[in-house]
Homo-oligomer: 222 residues x 2
DNA sequence: TTGTTAAGTTAACATTGTTATTCAATCATC
DNA sequence: GATGATTGAATAACAATGTTAACTTAACAA
């Protein structure tokens, strides 16, 4: 893996000709697209800023013109993915389905989302929130944090549980607690699969089934 | 150059006096102890090999005399923590209790362990182990086949589930899958509480109860 | 033309994990 | 005690990473 010194011809590190000059908005979008692709392919740690820049035909410094640091890329990508989750929930059509069916669908889409976006999932639900000690000044484009998409998603689950309890499908109990327990079960599956990929897990589909079954039978009336 | 270099007194970042020369076994132990402390305090990514060495009054190179790389430290420390969990499981006295009672106790001790040692828990089950991408060949002494403590702990759960299925307390099903699902539920609770301390959770005792109830009713015969 | 602005580059900095090489303390043996 | 091997530890570096300071160039308005 030895890379020699920078030779003048081939551009492993040095750029050849200048890239097209894009507007800030377009460059931003292009960076996000490239970053997402590489993050998904190589993982967060496995992705370097240089690699992203190279894919764009741009120097690494350019990335810092549009994003304060590497994690900002992931954060923004995650926010997009989270919106997808909300969409996924909506697509489960919770309002108009039989509630048990709806819960089942919700669990499926939650797990499906997590396993389809393990990077994002890890950042959203498994990352230690740092004390934000760093000496970073605020970013030009960085607005205030919006109302959390995650809370919206949890509210959907909670509403569904309330409906199940009210209709007598679930046995009575504290709706919030039940919703949290169900979330824990789904999250436990996703996060374990993500964090411990070397464990000899059962077949995924069967595992998801087992979790859903446990949740449904665990709360439905005897 | 100059005949005798100043070996001492370079206080700025460098080493002071030579450390006590320890036997390989003792040095290994000392490294593990220091690494564990710092890992727990700063997290895996936040811990540098230099920092560990500094805490020992030793140069970073010394660490590589006793461990192949950074992740090896994490692996070994995790194994120790798992041993604690195994002890906790044994203390639940699974063999001699009615199986449902035993499962309940096992869940309690698992959750208790996680919430009592959130740092260790995070290290064990939530830390990303980097894909070991560098040009390292596997260490000769590393059998990779010896049953680690984590597998022992899981085996205890699995045995208990098998007993419950065999005795007809649980409805029939794949024992491994059921055990994994139960683990997922317990882990989901612990890891969510650890990772999202700001979420407005229900009271802890009630949550633990809800999880246990969901698990037990989820698998017991109708 | 000139001047300003914003997009981009060059060249580095500071850290990181890690290693090739050298030094020195211990210990068995003469 | 002197000698030489063993091995714990240090020095000094390597390459890669995230990141930044300082400079360059395209576009456009006056």
């Amino acid at each position: 893996m030895s890379s020699g010194r920078a030779r003048r011809g081939k551009a492993s590190g040095g750029m050849g000709r200048r890239p097209a000059r894009l507007s800030a908005v377009d460059r931003r979008r292009a960076i996000l697209a490239a970053a997402k692709e590489i993050f998904l392919a190589e993982g967060y740690e496995g992705t370097t800023m240089r690699r992203i820049a190279e894919a764009l035909g741009v120097t690494p410094t350019t990335l810092y013109l549009h994003f304060p640091d590497k994690s900002a890329l992931l954060t923004e990508i995650c926010d997009d993915s989270f919106a997808q989750l909300v969409v996924e929930f909506a697509r489960a059509d919770l309002e108009h389905a039989p509630p048990l069916e709806a819960l089942r669908r919700l669990l499926d889409s939650y797990v499906g989302f997590g396993l389809a976006h393990p990077r994002e999932y890890r950042l959203l639900f498994m990352t230690e929130v740092p004390p934000h000690v760093g000496g970073h000044r605020p970013v030009p484009g960085d607005g205030a944090t919006r109302p959390d998409n995650g809370q919206i998603a949890f509210a959907a689950l909670e509403a569904l549980v309330r409906r199940l309890v009210d209709e007598g499908v679930f046995r009575p109990g504290d709706v919030e607690t039940i919703a949290e327990a169900i979330w824990a079960a789904a999250h436990g599956l996703v996060s374990l699969l993500i964090a411990m990929p070397h464990f000899p897990w059962s077949e995924r589909a069967r595992l998801v089934d087992a979790i859903a079954e446990m949740v449904l039978r665990g709360w439905t009336r005897a």
